[in-house]
Symmetry: C2
Subunit: 371 residues, 2 copies
Amino acid sequence: MSAFPFTIAATEGAARTGTIETPRGTIRTPAFMPVGTAATVKALTVDQVAATGADIILGNTYHLMLRPTAERVKRLGGLHRFMRWSGPILTDSGGFQVMSLSGISKVTEEAVTFASHIDGSRHVLSPERSIEIQADLLGSDIVMQLDQCVSWPAEEPAARAAMELSARWGARSKAAFGTRDSQVLFGIQQGSTFENLRRESADRLIETGFDGYALGGLAVGEGHEAMCAVLDYAPAMLPADRPRYLMGVGKPIDLVEAVARGVDMFDCVLPTRAGRHGQAWTWSGALNMKNARFAEDDAPLEPGIACPASRDYSKAYLHHLVKSGEILGQVLLSWHNLAFFQALMGAMREAIAAGRFEAFRRDFHSRLGEA
Amino acid sequence: MSAFPFTIAATEGAARTGTIETPRGTIRTPAFMPVGTAATVKALTVDQVAATGADIILGNTYHLMLRPTAERVKRLGGLHRFMRWSGPILTDSGGFQVMSLSGISKVTEEAVTFASHIDGSRHVLSPERSIEIQADLLGSDIVMQLDQCVSWPAEEPAARAAMELSARWGARSKAAFGTRDSQVLFGIQQGSTFENLRRESADRLIETGFDGYALGGLAVGEGHEAMCAVLDYAPAMLPADRPRYLMGVGKPIDLVEAVARGVDMFDCVLPTRAGRHGQAWTWSGALNMKNARFAEDDAPLEPGIACPASRDYSKAYLHHLVKSGEILGQVLLSWHNLAFFQALMGAMREAIAAGRFEAFRRDFHSRLGEA
């Protein structure tokens, strides 16, 4: 029994919809978690984020441990209070950003040592330190084990070594986390695109026992088809009665195909990053708002989405803001994109509950490219 | 009789408080107009701007005529609809930005010819064209005459020539504008820091006859003391029964001292520009939020101001956002600064109405520097 009860209300094929109950609110699944990297979902107030329908956001341990530091966040009352987000927060372990952002990193059995991308200062992140930062200092609701994610493509020996180290770090994370009344711990499956490694990873995680299980090592450059090929088998290796979280994913088409394969949770910087770069995601696909064809397009991006950025501003105005380099353009497109992603998740939840997810999925594919 | 009735409800010395009635809403005076340069008050949604208590915003003819162009704004339903601001809008004439922003400008009796700072394209702005852009294409509520503003310090012959040209352009502006039911035209007093020129300018404007009168040619580098010296005599030269608008001003101390001298309206980029650069204006003065002394300051900027950015976020969080270069820091500080400026205007209106403006003014000065 997890501290956060997970209830599956309906399934259709491998797809499922339900709820995760937390002391800070209910997470409706499948759920998309906006990324609040450095204690802010970039360019948006938490009230704007909440208004899009987000039930939970993600915080990045790597960024927060460097600035303002986890200890400072703790002294200021924890991450929720610091950034004024009252709903649940999932924090990653910091491992992924250590590998991708810091200049130098060295992995040993004990820990990963790295240099800050901000000032070059040296830091050590062990499974135990990551738990301390996430659970005790930031006060995260859903805590992730420290893992090692290999880049893609990976040779099997390297993928095996990272998977095995991640499994051992998972057991150490569980020992450090213990059992808590109002926080939970997720393990992370690794194994790159090797089915045998994914199986072994899942078995070892289940032996340790977690409140939820993430699929790591995907969305690292392998592409949609290769990712779907892994998702054809990997989610089913994880316990059906626990949430399955696909880390760092993704585009709308990735979300739909992963939900079809039994995934319950997602996070990705795409909506906000794309928004800062003039890209708007819609039911018809992604629009480059700099394109001159929008210069006198008086229609809103998505009139059916109850977000001011989606419904109330014309494409012509958004085009003007983006062309002029106005911050408001970054704000409105980030806001709209998050609202669209939440509308997509909501549509999938409703479709699964009504037993028409396959029809929704076909329709979704057929509408792409109409923009 | 102006199309926008101006009612003075109370006076104290030269200070006055009242209302300007417009078809799009009431402007409470003294009023501060946030600057919506390129059809956006930078970094903020119009809903955020309205929530600060702004009754009217300003649009820049120079920026809008170049991008997206006044004709395009017209085709998209006018400036109010384009940017979703339902209250009144005052537009400047474009003259000031032509002189300060465009690479090359040439002034003749007929018009000013200039090169766009965006793409170098050549444009001509005459008094008649400025009226057409503001009143007919953008659909501004309060239209400003084209004027010529000399830089500071100016020699008297140059100041006289610019003042006289501005007076002739004022008469041409009036002829082009005519009389309208739901839009008004303001003249602009020039004359630099020469009392005789200010007098002659006022007399010539009054002879032409405008709905309101602006004080131009100030806030161009002369400093607070020199500006106050002009304000000791210049506002009184303008009709007492029409709104007086001090263009491009200013810091809170400038606003208080100008109100004390009979000014009713202001605009300035300071609150939003300062906000984008990490500066927060408070009753105690301006704070540099990058300063390390705020790193663990858990108090909000101004708990008494009913704006989320002023009341709900800690200085420590704002410090973190600014240090991290986060857009949300620019948004929240711009929002707070506008809310503070509106709170300042509201406090002055209340103080004048209650006959305690002089006490307010003394108290305001005594609190500065406490930060």
